[in-house]
């Protein structure tokens, strides 16, 4: 509850800091504010409760998810270099919007009422529409912003239709009350068509937001067109918050009608895994490959939702942290390398730009290798344990076919995740050495260290829950 208050206030303070002559103060100030929110978040540890007239729930699970979101936000904001180049004339607004979007993300982790879910989704999405289009004169950025905006509002419309139908079945927006009604319907065999239509549309709307197949078609275009720093934000924080929301609504309200929705979710899981992994193999752009990889990771995280065991919440926290750390390092390396070489006035984001990275900057090549290994799920990295936990969740419900598909698709994943590593270590280098600021190095060091640490000692995080 506290991070929502903190970030709402500090966001406004950041807007006022924009009046200062020196724009250099904005980055440290924002980092400080996010750190403040992070510790305010931990303050509620082991003190579960309902806040704002039963609108928001706080328990250890929501606190951990918010902590993952705020940690990723801190690392991403630290990689921004303050937006003080010419392209970003108004840095204060970007930092303020980032903080406001975190408010939406945190609401999505702990909503107790569907009104809160809607508001959270919209705060996060509308902020992301603005940030996607922040590169105003770039046509590809414009296109990405329009596509994201139209697809996002379309998804919101579908989600709202689902919520309205659920209201018709339950006559309440409270998710606990919804569970009572659903349980009654199951026990009396008296089912309402509004309930089933509502669950279906609500799920489709939310899955649009986390870009699970077959609703992923906007993802590669938007991820490629948006400025890389905001792509990182989209692929980590939006995904974590979206899965928190999906898991929460299905676990709290609709676990009594598991037999209704599991077929739908399994079909989407399998589609996400197959479509994304097969398409990612043929991608020449590193950013586009990471976009498809994010769709495939949506598929893996859906396996935890399908499993819905008593360990699923831990798996979702662990998976989102492992995935966020690896993705932030990968995009961090891409940002550092791609700005060296321009194609049509834009940073070159093909896989070929990584050629010979081990000679140009061994540190970056190492970071890239670890992040790719973690995304592929090689043992001794966090990604391996993330996959292991979601697979055991799916096995808990006995979905063996799903497991077979998932393991086959991880094998396909290894092929394309190794392409950047091969480019970095085996190919000849063309460019000059790349120099980094010490701060940038420290942040990338933290993400990589986190990936390795969680890979060696996964119980560090699991024992918290």
């Amino acid at each position: 509850m506290y991070p929502i208050l903190v970030l709402s206030i500090t966001g406004i303070i950041t807007l006022f800091l924009g009046f200062l002559k020196s724009k250099k103060v904005l980055l440290p100030a924002t980092l400080f504010f996010v750190t403040l929110a992070f510790f305010a978040n931990l303050y509620d540890w082991n003190k579960p409760g309902l806040y704002f007239n039963n609108m928001l729930q706080v328990n250890n699970f929501t606190i951990l998810l918010s902590a993952v979101i705020l940690l990723s936000a801190f690392l991403i904001i630290a990689l921004t270099k303050g937006f003080i180049d010419d392209e970003h004339a108004q840095p204060a607004e970007y930092f303020a919007i980032l903080q406001f979007s975190l408010v939406g993300a945190i609401m999505m982790t702990g909503f107790q009422n569907l009104i809160m879910l809607f508001i959270g989704v919209e705060i996060l999405s509308v902020s992301m529409y603005v940030l996607t289009g922040s590169d105003k004169r770039n046509l590809r950025g414009n296109e990405a912003a329009l596509k994201y905006f139209l697809m996002g509002s379309f998804a919101t419309g579908i989600m709202l239709f689902g919520i309205a139908m659920l209201y018709g079945a339950n006559y309440s927006f409270n998710i606990d009350a919804a569970r009572t009604v659903v349980t009654q319907m199951v026990s009396t065999q008296h089912s309402s068509v509004y309930l089933y239509v509502g669950v279906t549309f609500l799920l489709i709307g939310l899955l649009f937001k986390v870009s699970a197949a077959p609703f992923h078609f906007w993802t590669p275009d938007v991820y490629e067109g948006a400025p890389t720093i905001f792509t990182t934000f989209m692929s980590t924080i939006v995904k974590t918050a979206g899965f928190a929301a999906i898991y929460r609504i299905l676990e709290v309200s609709f676990s009594p009608i598991y037999s209704f929705w599991w077929v739908m979710v399994i079909i989407m899981t399998v589609l996400s895994l197959i479509i994304s992994n097969v398409t990612a193999v043929s991608q020449g752009s590193f950013k586009r490959m990471l976009a498809f990889s994010s769709v495939s990771h949506a598929g893996y995280m859906l396996m935890a939702v399908v499993g819905l065991s008593n360990k699923s919440d831990d798996s979702i926290v662990f998976y989102s942290l492992a995935y966020s750390l690896a993705t932030i390092s990968a995009f961090g390396v891409l940002m550092a390398v791609s700005k060296e070489k321009l194609v049509d006035g834009r940073p070159d984001e093909s896989i070929a730009v990584l050629n010979g990275l081990s000679k140009r900057n061994p540190f970056l090549a190492f970071i890239l290798a670890i992040s790719m290994l973690s995304l592929a799920g090689i043992p001794l990295t966090a990604g391996f344990w993330g996959k292991f936990y979601v697979f055991s969740d799916a096995a808990f419900r006995g979905h063996i076919w799903l497991l077979v598909v998932a393991i086959l698709m991880s094998a396909v994943g290894i092929y394309y995740y190794f392409k950047p590593i091969i480019a970095a270590y085996m190919r000849e280098s063309e460019g000059e050495a790349i120099s980094l600021t010490p701060f940038y190095k420290i942040i990338l060091g933290i993400t990589t260290f986190g990936s390795i640490l969680l890979g060696l000692f996964p119980d560090l995080l699991r024992s918290l829950m």
């Binding site: 529409y129 919520i163 309205a164 209201y167 927006f173």
Partner: protein, 110 residues
Amino acid sequence: MQSKIPDIIQTVPLLNYVLLASILFIIGVVGVLIRRNAIIIFMSIELMLNAVNLLLIAFSSYRADASGQVFVFFIMAVAAAEVAVGLAIIVMIYRNIRSIDVGLLDKLKW
């Protein structure tokens, strides 16, 4: 004789309201999928949101439960914020390519 508003609304069966809202919603979905002008697509999305509003109000009146109508206010307020951002994006694109035909936006292909 003066009758209460819920009584008047209830003279029409609930299913009629649901069907009307669903038809409006489907018109909106079809509009999003087949039109090529960004503004028209945008209008279709608004139509979807208003279909949802109608649905919520119908359910709300039938049960004399106010929370549905409160939700409608939230939807209207948030939709206004979305319109502000959406029109800004469309204006930005118009300035760059002098058109708002979504078919012209094909820079991002593989």
